[in-house]
Amino acid sequence: MARVIDLHLHSEASDDSRAPVEAYLKWLARKRDERPLDGIVLTEHRQFDTWSDYRALEDKYGLLILKASEVETEYGHVLVYGVNDAMLRRFDFSNVRLRAQELIDEVARLGGVAMPCHPGRPTIGLIEHYENRPPLEGVVGVEALNGGSKKGENERVAALIDTYGYHAFGGSDAHLVSFVGICATEFEKDITNTGELVEALRTGGYRPVDFRVRRAPVQPAAGGA
């Protein structure tokens, strides 16, 4: 049973992360007061992990562990929840030029949901592409809060949500162990498996939650060292 879930993070299965899944879980256990998470969704880059079985780790740490993917399209990066064999046969997830509209339509038809992430980011976010191309049909929600964003990138998303009525969710986009859960999503209903996650993401009843703790500003002395 989970209500607060980090919907976007990368483990060592992604080419640009070295974080083992268990290290993430241990970090969450340690940071429970600061980041009260009930679960995580592993969203590896350009692939879907069909082989790992996390049931033992779920029991050991009392956290829900689900699997999804982050793929690349001409409208930017998209998180795909509810990945199944039919989707993997339909799309080559390693293709960095997937067609966003086709992906959204087909993922929905095949029982999942495809949701654009970090929409405020240059080139790989939705907003920039909406300036030059027609908006996508069938988008239900976007990642309004991403833990890896630069200044301004999350802030740009509010207007997109207002205009198109998208649901908003959050994720850490962690590539390092210590960033797991800094941003997450709070659901109104309990999620216990991928099917319920997909259903909830489609229908709404969730919001991004921000657990980032800003360090007090430090003014370094002049000089390089």
Binding site: D15, E72, N95, V96, R121, P122, G224, A225
Partner: protein
């Protein structure tokens, strides 16, 4: 969908460089340029009683070693400009004054992804460094981003 290029270039040695003996002054200067305060890299006397029994180079000194040919002659070009995407350094043995280092360079990997600045191609150059005793010193993987 795999990126298309001649995969036979992977692993082929494109450069072998023998460096002149490492000078103590060079190690000290390098540490100083980083603002290093660790006496193992900055203070010969303290370092003599330390775990290495003498002054050694700051850990990233091996990244300053540059092959004669920076890139292979037949390196695929996927973009107009190249940037440093990152480094991965494995360190097996310290660099000491007087070491005669040798570096062998290969193209280790090539892949594509999309990022803040558009389509990006990564070429990973691998530099394997050994010393005069044939001992492995470090492997430096250099991820060059082209776009």
């Amino acid at each position: 969908m795999a990126l298309e290029f001649d995969r036979s270039i992977l692993g082929q040695v494109f450069d072998e460089t023998d460096f002149p003996p490492v000078e103590k002054a060079d190690l000290l200067q390098f540490a100083d340029a980083l603002g290093e305060t660790n006496p193992l890299y900055t203070d010969e006397t303290v370092a003599a009683n330390g775990p290495y029994g003498g002054l050694v180079a700051a850990p990233t000194y091996v990244t300053r070693l540059r092959p004669k040919k920076m890139t292979p002659e037949h390196m695929p070009r996927f973009g107009k400009v190249g940037f440093d995407g990152g480094r991965d350094v494995e360190i097996f043995a310290p660099v000491r004054p007087g070491d005669r280092l040798k570096m062998v360079s290969t193209i280790h990997d090539i892949y594509e992804k999309t990022g803040r600045s558009g389509s990006m191609y990564f070429i990973v150059l691998r530099n394997e460094i050994t010393n005069q005793d044939g001992q492995q010193v470090a492997i430096v993987d250099h991820r060059i981003m082209q776009r």
